[in-house]
């Protein structure tokens, strides 16, 4: 099958004016499903540690770096909708409003923003995309953005001072570093085989 969506051949996500094209709808739903399936494969199994130690942030990185800002962000937003409407799509069959409003819920709400930022950076740097660039984009969107939203949320929910919440979040770093590396390797390989993103102007002209 010939990929019909090579950049420059057919109109991309931002072409043709209005809305999201049908293939984009399929892609968005497929990546939301990938995000769910990633929850079935634990990265590191630790009985006591909650949500953030899953491979699902890998889905955030993959959606952003393969689909781009808009479609990637929407795919992960759709995943969050699945959680909100009460489907057990988080690891361990969890889901529902309780997880989102709990102390670690900020990380889940940050997922779509993270995917959007990964996508935005990837689009800007698409022409010179390589493993190094991928690591940078994915570390910023797939880890930093999640911390910036998730940690203050946790500090407020837990009534902890922000500094304290930051230091206690250091436990997430090794797992997140592994996920950024795995996600970047996959993103570079997929870009070579099946590029979907249309590059954006790197500097506003």
């Amino acid at each position: 099958m010939i990929p019909a969506n090579r950049p420059g051949i057919s109109g991309g996500a931002q072409g043709k004016g209005s809305g999201v094209r049908t293939k984009d709808i399929a892609l968005i739903a497929l990546f939301a499903a990938i995000m769910v399936v990633l929850g079935f494969f634990p990265l590191i199994e630790l009985p006591l540690v909650p949500a953030p130690f899953t491979s699902q942030t890998l889905g955030v990185i993959l959606a952003g770096s393969i689909l781009g800002a808009r479609r990637g962000g929407l795919a992960i937003l759709l995943f969050v909708v699945l959680v909100l409407v009460g489907l057990p799509v988080l690891p361990g069959g969890r889901g529902g409003l309780g997880v989102v409003l709990g102390p670690t819920g900020g990380f889940i709400l940050a997922y779509p923003v993270g995917a959007f930022v990964v996508g935005l950076l990837t689009e800007r740097l698409w022409r010179r995309y390589n493993l190094g660039v991928a690591l940078l984009c994915n570390a910023v969107g797939g880890a930093l953005v999640l911390y910036v939203i998730g940690i203050p949320w946790m500090a407020v929910a837990a009534g902890l001072p922000l500094g304290r919440a930051i230091t206690s979040s250091v436990v997430f770093l090794p797992g997140d570093a592994i996920k950024v590396v795995i996600g970047s390797l996959a993103a570079v390989a997929v870009r070579r085989a099946y590029p979907l993103i249309e590059p954006r102007a790197e500097v506003a002209r």
Partner: protein, 204 residues
């Protein structure tokens, strides 16, 4: 995929989804202004009573609450070290009330009612190009795709195991490329079913 919804007939089930969600967000915000232990205690008692009214079995309620407990315990310990027991209890009970109430909304509201509530909430964004009526379709598509993706992942993993590849995430790249190929066909299938057709408009 089974939803977390627990089917029963109760006044809590009968409430409209939008009303339950608005109450949840109002209570969730209000909780942060309650600084008195008795006040929080009463709130907790009311929420527990609501579970009884909603006829949610204790086992189900406990199963939903349990994942939050280890983390809440960690927070309690941190609070005890950093502040006093009073603040620790205050924070702990606040988390419990919020999570219990949120779980209650999830347990007593059908997924379809929740989706409708989201579509209504997105209505005002229509001028920005948001199409709220697509939420239900996208959720349905995703639920349908989950077993498809799971099966593809299992296939790739089995094939790699047979060839002696042991790295646990080596299946990602082949899985992603298979998925992207799948999207080409699906896009055409959706087009053929007239997904993008404008809804018929009434003449004015």
């Amino acid at each position: 995929m089974l939803s977390l919804y627990h089917d029963a007939r109760s006044p809590v089930h009968a409430l409209p989804a939008g009303a339950k969600l608005l109450t949840l967000f109002a209570v969730g915000t209000g909780l942060f202004f309650v600084r008195s232990l008795p006040g929080l205690g009463i709130t907790l008692a009311v929420v527990v009573a609501l579970y009884a009214v909603a006829r949610v079995p204790w086992r189900t309620a406990w199963g939903q609450l349990r994942p939050v407990l280890p983390f809440t315990a960690l927070i309690l310990v941190a609070q005890l070290v950093l502040t006093d027991w009073r603040t620790a209890v205050l924070v702990g009970v606040r988390i419990l009330v919020l999570v219990l109430l949120a779980n209650l909304v999830t347990l007593t509201t059908r997924t379809s009612a929740m989706i409708t509530a989201i579509e209504v909430a997105l209505g005002p964004l229509r001028p920005l190009g948001v199409r709220p009526e697509r939420v239900g379709l996208l959720v349905a598509l995703t639920i349908r795709f989950i077993p498809v993706i799971k099966e593809q992942a299992d296939q790739v993993r089995a094939a790699q195991k047979a060839r002696g590849v042991e790295r646990s995430f080596a299946f990602l790249t082949p899985l992603l490329i298979k998925t992207l190929r799948l999207a080409d066909g699906l896009g055409e299938a959706l087009d053929a079913r007239g997904l993008d057709a404008e809804p018929p408009r009434r003449r004015s």
